[in-house]
């Protein structure tokens, strides 16, 4: 009952004109950058994070959540109209979305994608309302050993972000942890890994690293590929017919459910759920032969799964402090900038904030539907913006964005160095997502480990002696095997569909 009261008060807060405006701007900006070639949700949130510093924490997070949702939807637009999946999770949408676009039915396909995203996103947020407080209640029993076990659980996320080699992913993760330790040591107050440099003593700013690895790297990749503006034919009416909607209802709910349940697992990539939802839909369909040739169900199911996974990802993020994907890791970084510690105590210490953000997600999903359907034509036209204009704009915004966090030119250097490093890592197929995840979680991991050691007089068995921490460790191991299995299956499917080896992150 208390949950509903809190949610209701969250709605009251979220419905203030300013918060509504932030949700609207976030959804629009997110869709805008999602449609443009060269900026994904991760780099978009990272670049825009400094811009939100003038806002209150709640407004800032509402806006960033809107950007996240919007960017995910923007990715579907290019997948359907141009056969360009911005993320691996959009590959299944291409399979039937593009054939529909070629038949002149791109508009209804985009409409169904928007409605499926809305339905599943709402389903995901309803789940968040029920699950997150339950998890948070359990987590109030947490001490340092349980927190450390939780960090181990977060490490299973790394397996999902591993790309083609687990050893490389682990090295990148450990490298990320080491980078997070540069600065002043928390126990002794002594400089650590500073090597006499004042800049290093101040530590690395996570936003600069994220801007470098995602935004700058992405531009360098874009210049290499010589991305060009692409045009497409007539997209037809954007409003799906009743027949289209009737066909899409079951796939929407089936896909939404698959996406939501998988999204609950910390670290389950949206790519896993979209492929599973597409395959499940194909298997249970009365006309499996239509799939791949332009079946509306083939658009509705993966789109619903994608959005449900994105929404469900907020549950482990808010309740446990574990980000399931790189964009959520940046959101976590955003929460930390505002002094909010995601995890069990967030619900206790900042209930107003959490429930306002959750309520604003409902509103954000509705806004996406209301704004995107009429604007589909404009979004589609945006794909024609030449890369020769976009690339310099993104590079300059990235540089200024990195500078503004601490008004530091050192941070600009860090962003540029990591931009070049990210490009080389991409060429040699070293995954960068584990680096970011571990960089963000590094301080929490160290603090919980050191406190546990202090509690147990240096005995590492403390993690196995406490029932809750032991349970989490067992769960981590179980999830690790499940993740490995799901990833292997998804990679096989991506290879079947695209003929390429997938880097799922």
């Amino acid at each position: 009952m208390e949950t509903f009261e809190l949610l209701l008060s969250g709605f009251m807060q979220a419905m203030t004109p300013q918060n509504l405006l932030m949700a609207g701007i976030g959804a629009l900006v997110g869709t805008f950058v999602g449609v443009l070639p060269g900026l994904g949700p991760t780099s978009a949130i990272a670049i825009l994070l400094p811009l939100t510093t003038v806002l209150e924490p709640t407004q800032a997070i509402i806006m960033m959540a809107g950007i996240y949702y919007g960017a995910m939807y923007g990715g579907s637009t290019t997948a359907i109209l141009l056969n360009i999946p911005g993320e691996v999770s959009s590959v299944p949408t291409c399979l039937d979305g593009y054939p529909l676009a070629k038949k002149g039915r791109g508009g209804p396909a985009l409409g169904v994608a928007a409605i499926a995203s809305f339905a599943a996103g709402t389903l995901g947020v309803i789940g968040l309302v029920f699950f997150a407080p339950f998890l948070a209640d359990q987590a109030l029993k947490f001490g340092p050993p349980e927190y450390f076990a939780l960090m181990l659980l977060a490490l299973t996320v790394m397996i999902n972000l591993a790309g083609n080699s687990i050893v490389k992913a682990l090295i990148m993760g450990v490298f990320g942890y080491l980078l997070s330790m540069v600065g002043i040591g928390p126990s002794s107050g002594m400089p650590r890994f500073a090597y006499g440099s004042n800049d290093f003593t101040g530590g690395f700013e996570m936003i600069s690293i994220i801007i470098g690895l995602f935004a700058v790297t992405e531009v360098l990749k874009g210049i290499e590929e010589k991305r060009t503006a692409v045009s497409f034919g007539n997209i037809g009416s954007i409003y799906p017919s009743m027949a289209d909607l009737r066909k899409s209802v079951k796939p929407m709910f089936q896909g939404g459910l698959v996406g939501f349940l998988l999204g609950l697992l910390p670290g389950c990539s949206a790519a896993v759920s979209t492929f599973l939802a597409y395959d499940l839909q194909k298997k249970t369909s009365k006309h499996p032969d239509q799939f791949g040739k332009g079946a509306m169900e083939g658009v509705a199911a993966p789109e619903a799964a994608n959005n449900a996974t994105s929404s469900a990802g907020f549950i482990p993020l808010f309740a446990l402090g574990i980000p399931a994907s790189p964009p959520l890791a940046v959101l976590l970084a955003g929460l930390m900038i505002y002094g909010l510690a995601p995890g069990p105590v967030l619900f206790e210490q900042n209930p107003k904030f959490v429930w306002t953000v959750i309520a604003s997600m409902f509103i954000g999903n509705l806004m996406l539907l209301v704004l995107n359907l009429p604007l589909v034509g404009i979004w589609a036209r945006l794909t024609r913006v030449p890369y020769g204009i976009l690339a310099p704009v993104i590079l300059m915004l990235s540089t200024i964005g990195a500078y503004t966090v601490r008004n530091s030119l050192f941070d600009v250097s860090v962003a540029l160095v990591f931009g070049v490093l990210g490009y080389l890592l991409h060429k040699y197929r070293w995954p960068v997502a584990p680096l970011i995840l571990c960089f963000i979680l590094g301080p929490m991991l160290e603090q919980s480990f050191i406190q546990s050691m202090a509690m147990s007089a240096g005995n590492p068995l403390i993690f196995f002696k406490r029932p809750l921490s032991l349970s989490i460790i067992v769960l981590s191991v179980a999830l690790l095997f499940l993740s490995l299995n799901l990833m292997r299956r998804t990679k096989q499917r991506v290879r079947q569909e695209t003929g390429q080896q997938a880097e799922i992150a």
């Binding site: 450990v174 002794s188 540029l416």
Partner: protein, 153 residues
């Protein structure tokens, strides 16, 4: 061709080992400031140093199957990439020298000219619009203090 990829992975493994050793050296340096043998700023660097050395060795000495070629772009594209990187690094050092306005105008002009590639007057118009837009958002709206440089611009 495939030899290059194997070498790159092995070089990565070697780099991992070097980083691991650097972490272990830092752990040894910080050990005297500990609260107890397992509690202090040295603990995590030591632990991660060992893990990094082991993982680096795994990558260095494990035989890998089916490596793929690592294609770098042809010379004209590569020079655009390298030129853009050089311009961005130049920007970082020009800002304190020339101030925000002049350095942003110069570097964005260079980027439009190089990546576009647009004619000089088109690039100049784009650069002026971009410089003014960023100034309005960051300096006027967000009140971020930018360096003014030698010309107080």
């Amino acid at each position: 061709m495939s030899q290059r990829k194997i070498t790159a992975d092995r070089a990565g493994g070697l780099l991992g080992i070097i980083l691991g050793i650097a972490a272990l050296i830092e752990a040894v340096r910080l050990y005297p400031y500990r609260s107890s043998p397992m509690v202090g700023d040295h603990t995590m660097p030591a632990l991660l140093g060992v893990i990094l050395v082991v993982l680096g060795a795994l990558l260095l000495f494990t035989k890998r199957n089916g490596p793929e070629d690592v294609p770098f772009p042809a010379k004209p594209r590569l020079s655009v990439i390298l030129g853009s990187i050089a311009l961005m690094f130049a920007y970082r050092y020009l800002i304190p020298l020339l101030g925000y306005a002049l350095s942003t105008l110069l570097v964005s002009f260079g980027l439009f000219k190089q990546i576009g590639p647009y004619r000089w007057h088109v690039s100049l118009v784009f650069a002026i619009v971009l410089t003014a837009s960023i100034y309005l958002i960051f300096a006027v709206w967000l009140k971020i203090p930018f360096p003014v440089g030698l010309f107080k611009l």
